[in-house]
Each structure stands twice: as structure tokens, then as C-alpha cells.
């Protein structure tokens, strides 16, 4: 089971696209990537979850850890997600109130389209 992680720069955002299943096995790679982005000085991070096929509490913990880390440097971490099953997990855990969630990367980097 592989986790795909790809980083691109868009309008001052570091866009981290995640592909595959995020669980106890793959979450460490995801965590390392977020830590690396913040350590590189990225302060606006957008995590694109559209390619995620599975996300459990371990992955949610990584997202919250990333948000705390970037906010400690006065930055922000937002999400792109329209998948119902992933949004359901975010809603149950109350994280839809914690993260800004956008409909698409384009909407997020242009400053429009909060879900």
C-alpha cells in the first residue's frame, strides 16, 4: 500500500496532493512531508485530499498536527475535499469547524470557493 505525496507551488500556496490510503502505516510519511514543508518556511499549506481513498484517525491526527505546527509560525493549513466519505469523517470528528475546506485547488489559491 503506497501513499502518493506531491508538492506544487500555486500562488504562494504549497499544495500537497495526497493519493491513496492514509492510516497507521502510511501516516508517518504524510507527517514527515508536512513537517518538511513547514521547516522549509512554507506558511500557506493546502492539502488536497481529492485523491485520498481512505482516511482514519491517524491521518486526522497528522492534519491537526500540521495545522498546529504551521499556525505556531503564523501560517495556515487548509484542505481541498469534496468526497462525501472523507467529509463525513471530518464532520463526525468536528474538524469541519477547525479547517477551512475548499471545493478545489483553483478555488483555494484564488481565494474563493470555501465549501
Amino acid at each position: 500500500m503506497d501513499l502518493g505525496l506531491d508538492v506544487k507551488e500555486r500562488n504562494g500556496w504549497a499544495v500537497l496532493s495526497v493519493q491513496g490510503e492514509v492510516d497507521v502505516y502510511t501516516a508517518p510519511q504524510f507527517r514527515e512531508q508536512l513537517i518538511e514543508l513547514v521547516d522549509q518556511g512554507q506558511r500557506s499549506i493546502l492539502v488536497d485530499l481529492e485523491g485520498v481513498e481512505f482516511l482514519d484517525s491517524t491521518g486526522l491526527g497528522v492534519l491537526v498536527g500540521g495545522l498546529k505546527r504551521v499556525r505556531s509560525h503564523d501560517g495556515d493549513l487548509a484542505l481541498v475535499c469534496t468526497q462525501r466519505r472523507i467529509l463525513k469523517v471530518l464532520e463526525i470528528t468536528g474538524l469541519t469547524k477547525v479547517f477551512t475546506i475548499h471545493d478545489s485547488v483553483d478555488a483555494a489559491v484564488s481565494g474563493n470557493g470555501r465549501a
Binding site: 497507521v24 502505516y25 481512505f54 482514519d56
Partner: protein, 151 residues
């Protein structure tokens, strides 16, 4: 009649995906569980296995027993009692905010119809996760079983 499927995996993170795949495939054999409900079960089983693996410190064996019946699908996960303490605290629960444990508790409680802890032999505990099949579709499934049984 329940069909029983038993799984044993090394208590290591790389095997949790295999359990999700097996449980998801089993849940779809009989009618009566929508895809979304099967997805819910995959999440809860993953949460339970992750808890167990953490408590077992990634050593030993994790045992699961799936009882696939016409009206319910039940997954029993055996682990030391500490594995499920956070999800079923003995005293009044104070759920910590926004960490993986609190998310796990919320997901386990929200996504299955019943979740119950039972003692099993040797000081271990079984977490029993139950999904109820849609009644009309479950009846169709029961008819199918009878037909197969008579053949």
C-alpha cells in the same frame, strides 16, 4: 446461518490494510449493506486494529472473527483490554480534544450500529462491532441462502 471468517495478522501497521480489504469484501457478499455502510465498517475496523497494534507494541498476533449473518455482520477483534479503554472508558469520560484518540472514539461510536466490549479467555477483551443489514435486502439474502442450502 452465520458464515464465519477468521483472520490472524501480525500486529503491525502494514497489515491493517489487508484487514480492511477482507472485511469490506466480506460485507459485500450478502445484500443489505450499502457501500457507505461498508465504508463505515472499514473505518471502525481500522481504528480498532490500530488501537490494538499500539497496545501490543507491534508484536504478536491480532485475531479477528467475522460473523456474516443474514441480518447482521459482526466483527470481533481480540486484544488486551487496554487496547479499547480509550473508546470505552470505565469512568466518566473526558474526551480530549483534537488528537488521534479523540477522533478514534468519535468514529467508533458514530459509524457502527452497536459496539460492545466483552471479556474473552486469558485476560483478553473482544471488541464486537455490529452492522444491521437493511431488512428487505436481508430477507432476499436469507432466501438465497436457503436455495443454496437445498441445492
Amino acid at each position: 446461518m452465520d458464515r464465519v471468517v477468521e483472520l490472524e495478522i501480525p500486529a503491525r501497521p502494514e497489515f491493517v490494510g489487508i484487514v480492511r480489504m477482507a472485511v469490506g469484501a466480506l460485507a459485500g457478499i450478502r445484500p443489505g449493506l450499502a457501500y457507505e455502510r461498508i465504508d463505515d465498517l472499514r473505518i471502525v475496523v481500522s481504528e480498532a486494529c490500530t488501537s490494538a497494534i499500539e497496545v501490543l507494541e507491534r508484536q504478536g498476533i491480532l485475531r479477528l472473527r467475522c460473523l456474516d449473518g443474514p441480518k447482521t455482520l459482526e466483527v470481533r477483534i481480540e486484544a488486551p483490554a487496554a487496547a479499547f479503554e480509550s473508546a470505552f472508558p470505565a469512568g466518566p469520560s473526558e474526551v480530549p480534544e483534537h488528537d488521534a484518540d479523540s477522533f478514534r472514539i468519535s468514529l467508533i461510536r458514530a459509524l457502527v450500529d452497536d459496539a460492545e466490549l466483552r471479556s474473552s479467555a486469558g485476560g483478553a477483551t473482544e471488541l464486537c462491532l455490529v452492522l444491521h443489514r437493511d431488512a428487505a435486502a436481508a430477507d432476499d439474502g436469507a432466501d438465497d441462502d436457503q436455495t443454496i442450502g437445498q441445492g
